[in-house]
């Protein structure tokens, strides 16, 4: 779990990983290496560097990102949530860019998602007909890119207030091991919060983990 200045959701995401049966350690943006024995990397949500310039742009150039890139190139799973998704796009590890919401405002609400690709380490085994109820909360969450060439993993069902190309809520790289999502699965990982649909992603990864 990489922590940048301005990361906000690292503790919630860590709790979600634990709830799914895994464990997570924090890595610092200025470090050159990921912790030894890292199976998967999560770039959590937040406002790294205050979203200045472009969301995720400054964090995507942090020293730790070289290690994340090496991990990804070796096939290691990487998940970017919200700001983490923005960082991965800015780092060139995912296709497209995230732009200002069509509403020109921050949007925080529960949305319904459909699984468009159940063959990534983060979605393997998910029923493609299942609707996931997970919240979004972002300012620059409109994915802009070519859905014909990108590997679309999640789509908004029904209305997409953000104005993403083709209702895209999450995309992966060609190999499928790097995934970026606008919705926040860590905010849907506890029955007290009304939905546990977000846990499915972390569980899928833990199941797929090479022993």
């Amino acid at each position: 779990m990489v922590r940048f200045p301005g990361s906000l959701d690292h503790e919630s995401a860590r709790a979600a990983v634990r709830a799914a049966g895994g464990g997570a350690e924090l890595a610092w943006h200025a470090d050159a290496e990921l912790p030894a024995g890292t199976d998967a990397v999560i770039l959590p949500g937040g406002f790294s560097y205050g979203d200045h310039l472009r969301a995720g742009a400054i964090a995507s150039r942090a020293p730790i990102m070289d290690a994340v890139r090496r991990h990804a190139e070796a096939g290691g799973p990487v998940l970017g949530i919200c700001n983490g998704f923005q960082v991965l796009c800015e780092a060139g590890l995912l296709p497209g860019a995230l732009r200002r919401n069509a509403t020109l405002s921050f949007v925080c609400r529960q949305v319904e998602l459909e699984v468009a690709d159940a063959d990534t380490p983060w979605t393997r085994g998910l029923d493609p007909d299942r609707t996931l109820s997970i919240p979004i909360k972002n300012n620059e969450g409109a994915w802009y890119g070519d859905p014909a060439t990108a590997r679309v993993v999640l789509r908004y069902r029904g209305e997409d207030a953000l104005g993403s190309t083709d209702h895209v809520a999450g995309v992966a790289n060609a190999a499928g091991n790097v995934l970026g999502l606008m919705p926040h699965p860590e905010e849907a990982a506890d029955p007290l919060l009304g939905s546990t649909d977000g846990l499915a992603l972390f569980r899928a990864l833990l199941k797929a983990r090479p022993r």
């Binding site: 200045p5 301005g6 906000l8 959701d9 503790e11 919630s12 709790a15 979600a16 949500g45 937040g46 406002f47 560097y49 205050g50 979203d51 200045h52 405002s105 921050f106 949007v107 925080c108 609400r109 919240p135 909360k137 300012n139 926040h184 860590e186 905010e187 990982a189 506890d190 029955p191 007290l192 919060l193």
Partner: protein, 729 residues
């Protein structure tokens, strides 16, 4: 030390330009034993403003109950702190940023959030929730739309970026706030009992370290000019606007909490109104020590005079006292977070607040003097008693269903989704009950408990009857908490009033506080922190007396919290509380009219206790407070939230419109499973509990004194949800 230079070219004496009265200006040399220097006079002028000294309101505030078994820190620190069990504590405080928000709504509201968050941080608490209480003019006014939308954007910008969820609040619209909008922000934090920090400096020889943003010409004169003068909307009060920097605030939070957990601070204090002057004098006075500051060491953004450095209100700064042994650790942690940390002085024996610049001492005053502003008595002129509403003069509605839809679409009643969807109300994965209900419910990390949070106002009631309104605002807050299943534990308050030197405002202030105190005593809820904002009037238009109460309650088992939406068909609908609905002081009449009944504090305290017991026993399927718009609006809101209708017979009231839309009386709409009806009645004891209908279907049908209202839940929702977006165009 050089005495004040003569200023024979200035026709108006310096002290008056700074906002000091002639009496105060004569008193200062007597207290000091000499003439003050210019920087000293500026410091006095800020510290002796109402904003910093509470010189008009202080005597009245003594009426509040402030102690109790749960209180770990009452008023007098940066925030109040109460015990919530298992070694955990909650810090809370509310504060106004009204005048800065009227000048520049985005930055004013944003920096208001930043300021209150630093107050919580200064206690060593981790901020976990924000609430905002807002008042603007009617949305038909372009200026009010601008202030409203920009203030909401500013609050969202700041809260979202620092990762503290904005879980609740309130907004209402009335022409009285057209020129003087109100922006109050509340922050709540959690801490371990043994991790609580205080502002009291100690240990001569310890370092005074300034952490965070560099100092610039931000808000210079802000405390006195912006907060204590009638605002006449002219441009020359404007050059000192503070720009918010939430990214730095987040780093400040992360870094200070890391250091606080490591025990690296002797004391911690935020820099708010009056900047370094206020922070340093409070730290010295509270600790009974002196401070020696070298202004040349303060990191600056631009060249500033010593007096400017002393009063600059640059944001995102904290002042810490650190032992010599831990200084390197503090500086290193700040560097890791890319924050400036600069030792700018030391703690000394004695009580002198000293500041040097260019090697010379420019300030040397006993720190306590700055906090000892003489009380300014205010005139206490009772306002005439309001006349009860003459029902015969109020036409009965031709179409009560249309009247209900119109009420649901009044911006003050309508859904505030447009607001809270602009706020991250979830971050931290702790928001169990989201905005839109009676109170937010937030998980208490590390425990099975949750806390419920609300802010409330009752300004129409306070205008018509300040004593009763003072009671009403506290009782409404408690009822809102109780509806979620919480027991109220502590309150914080922000008293927004007009000019206390004019008309009946001083009397209203005293009466409102007295009424609040009566209700707080009955509930056993102490006030642990608060803030006063006076002079909210301009161009001859004064705001209503607007006390805002922030209240926190505890739910022992988080999973037992209760929502306000109907939950399932065949559940019974009951009215708890025996009060009579009245059109007096009702939103239905469209303006504050009539003489509302005096709230019965004992009955309402019993009602709150019953609701919390019933929730703890798992007997409530929903609970919703009857407030603005009366029982019909409360029923509609429960139907909309639950997505299911109900059929109900309303009793009470002298006519159908009063039964449907009458307010007051401390009533709560609850639902339960039919099989739990008897158990609920047992728990109710003396509290009146009347079965009035059943949940089910996709329509809300309400019968009252011959009137018959039947509307589809979708119709209700559409009126309720669309009003604010449509008013904004």
């Amino acid at each position: 030390m050089a005495p004040t230079r003569e200023r024979d070219l200035t026709p108006i004496p310096l002290h008056r330009q700074l906002g000091l009265t002639d009496e105060e200006a004569e008193l200062i040399p007597r207290l000091l034993g000499r003439e003050p220097t210019d920087p000293e006079l500026v410091m006095f002028s800020l510290m002796w403003s109402e904003h910093c000294s509470y010189k008009h309101s202080r005597p009245f505030l003594k009426a509040f109950p402030t102690t109790g078994p749960a209180v770990l820190q009452g008023p007098g620190e940066n925030a109040g702190v109460v015990d919530v069990g298992d070694g955990w504590a909650v810090a809370l405080k509310i504060e106004s940023h009204n005048h800065p928000s009227a000048v520049e709504p985005f930055e004013g509201a944003a920096t208001g959030v930043g300021g209150i968050v630093r107050d919580i941080l200064a206690m060593g608490a981790r901020p976990i929730a924000l609430l905002d209480s807002l008042r603007f003019g009617e949305l038909s006014s372009a200026r009010s739309r601008h202030l409203f939308t920009r203030a909401v954007a500013g609050i969202g910008h700041y809260g979202n970026c620092i990762g503290v969820p904005t879980v609740g609040g309130e907004v209402s619209f009335d022409a009285r706030y057209e020129d003087s909008c109100l922006v109050n922000a509340m922050c709540v934090g959690v801490l371990r009992h043994d991790g609580m920090l205080r502002a009291a400096a100690s240990g001569p020889g310890n370092h005074v370290v300034l952490i965070g943003n560099r100092t610039g010409r931000d808000g210079i004169g802000g405390a006195s000019v912006l907060a204590s003068a009638d605002l006449s909307l002219d441009d020359d009060k404007r050059p000192s606007v503070q720009v918010s920097d939430p990214f730095t605030e987040r780093k400040l939070m992360d870094c200070c909490l890391e250091l606080a957990a490591a025990g690296a601070f002797v004391a911690l204090q935020d820099l708010g109104a009056a900047g370094l002057t206020s922070a340093a004098s409070e730290m010295a006075a509270k600790g009974g020590v002196g401070l020696d500051l070298d202004l040349d060491l303060v990191p600056l953004r631009e060249t500033l005079a010593p007096a400017e450095i002393l009063v600059s209100e640059s944001q995102e700064r904290m002042l810490a006292v650190v032992t010599p042994e831990r200084l390197d650790e503090v500086v290193a942690a700040c560097r890791r977070w890319d924050l400036d940390a600069t030792p700018i002085g030391t703690v000394t024996e004695g009580d002198a607040l000293r500041a040097r610049a260019g090697g010379e001492i420019v300030v040397d005053i006993p720190a306590g003097l700055l906090a000892d502003c003489p009380v300014q008595p205010v005139p206490l002129v009772p306002a005439p008693e309001a006349e009860p509403v003459d029902l015969a003069a109020v036409p009965e509605p031709d179409d009560p269903a249309a009247a209900l839809l119109a009420l649901l679409a009044r911006p003050t009643i309508a859904s505030k989704r447009w607001v809270y969807e602009r706020y991250d109300h979830l971050v931290g994965a702790g928001t169990i009950r989201r905005p839109g209900g009676d109170a937010a419910v937030v998980r208490l990390p590390g425990t099975d408990r949750a806390i419920a949070l609300t802010t409330d106002g009752a300004e129409w009631h306070c205008e018509l009857d300040p004593r009763g309104g003072g009671r009403a605002v506290v009782l409404e807050a408690a009822r809102n908490l109780a509806c979620t299943g919480a027991r109220p534990v502590a309150a914080t308050d922000c008293l927004n009033f007009a000019n206390p030197e004019k008309g009946s405002t001083g009397w209203r202030l005293r009466e409102v506080i007295a009424g609040m105190a009566e209700a707080l005593e009955a509930l056993g809820v102490p006030v642990v922190s608060g803030n006063v904002s006076l002079y909210n009037e301009s161009l001859g238009r004064r705001i209503y007396p607007t006390p805002v109460v922030g209240m926190m309650g505890v739910i022992e088992r988080a999973e037992r919290s209760v929502g306000h939406g109907f939950s399932a068909a065949d559940d019974l609908v009951l009215m708890a509380g025996a009060g009579e609905p009245r059109l007096d002081c009702s939103e239905y009449l469209g303006e504050p009219l009539g003489r509302p009944a005096m709230p019965d504090v004992a009955a309402e305290a019993a009602l709150c206790a019953f609701l919390a017991d019933a929730a703890a026993a798992g007997l409530l399927r929903s609970a919703h407070d009857v407030s603005a718009g009366g029982a019909a609006v409360a029923l509609a809101e429960s139907a909309i939230a639950g997505g299911i209708g109900a059929a109900v017979d309303l009793t009470g009231g002298r006519r159908a419109d009063e039964a449907l839309f009458g307010e007051g009386g401390g009533r709560v709409l609850v639902t339960c499973r039919p099989e739990d009806r008897a158990a609920l009645a047992d728990l109710a004891g003396e509290v009146s509990l009347a079965e009035i209908g059943r949940v089910g279907g996709d329509r809300l049908t309400v019968r009252a004194a011959g009137a018959d209202v039947s509307l589809g839940v979708d119709e209700l929702r559409s009126a309720y949800e669309r009003a604010i977006p449509e008013a904004l165009g």
